[in-house]
Symmetry: C2
Subunit: 157 residues, 2 copies
């Protein structure tokens, strides 16, 4: 295979959340009712045009407080180590996180969102509209591997 490549990314804003520490933070948007603010740097204001009207957005962010990369690590929901690409843990080779959150309000460069699961002042990398027709409508049935036992009360795959 070809050589691995290096890219530079720059934060485009910051995410404010009620969580200064990870201990009391919900582990995913699915378990969070928390309100947060996605503050986009004003230099990107024009990029937010036409985002009103979308009920949900995908935010990408940088796990700036993640620690050394571990290819196998025990996730939040299990004591046994799992491969890093089979879990959503922050200490990943590229420390990029993703959450699908509800977009409540846009006031200029400040988006109020619901379902936030990131640490306060996490660097924002991207905002994309969540579009079920693009992303998930086609998915009729899912299997969730080792998480089945934790979330569906079944034997994990």
């Amino acid at each position: 295979m070809s050589c691995l490549m290096e890219f530079t990314i720059r934060s485009i804003g910051i995410i404010e959340s009620p969580y200064d520490e990870g201990d009391d933070m919900p582990i995913q948007p699915g378990f969070s009712e928390a309100i947060g603010k996605v503050i986009v740097d004003k230099s990107y204001l024009k990029g937010l045009k036409h985002l009103d009207g979308f009920s949900h957005i995908i935010i990408l962010y940088y796990f700036d407080r993640a620690k050394t990369v571990e290819l196998e690590v025990a996730p939040y929901l299990d004591a046994d180590p799992k491969g890093i690409f089979a879990i959503r843990y922050p200490n990943r080779p590229n420390k990029i996180g993703l959450s699908i959150v509800e977009l409540l309000k846009i006031d200029q460069n400040v988006l109020t969102v619901k379902g936030i699961d990131v640490l306060n002042r996490t660097p924002l990398i991207d905002i994309k509209p969540f579009v079920p027709e693009f992303d998930t409508n086609k998915i009729k049935k899912t299997e969730i591997g080792w998480l089945s036992k934790k979330l569906r009360n079944q034997n994990g795959g």
Copy 2:
């Protein structure tokens, strides 16, 4: 707000698809039945443990053939320019793309996936398990703004 920050990311592999050019490529996984291969560099092999058993994965990748960033641009589905954060177009401030695809098979470091919508040999950035309980189960109703007119035959929001 605080200063913007810069981060370095490195590809962890490559995505092979049937599409060497954008012209005949499906615009999103929702409209793609194409089979692709997600080839993870062997140095990350341990990170793939326990990914078997998941039916769908989220892949993050780098739009390496994207052009100059445009904060407003006409997307694939409309002739009128839209804010870049209201569309899924590649020429974004951080050129990171995301697709939720079906995981058909894992053979060592090679994942066969269905629903691919990226150019052949796109650099891979991350793999995460797709977990409806984390990502989408809570979402009962969506609004998709300007895309309503295109995808739902309604007046756009």
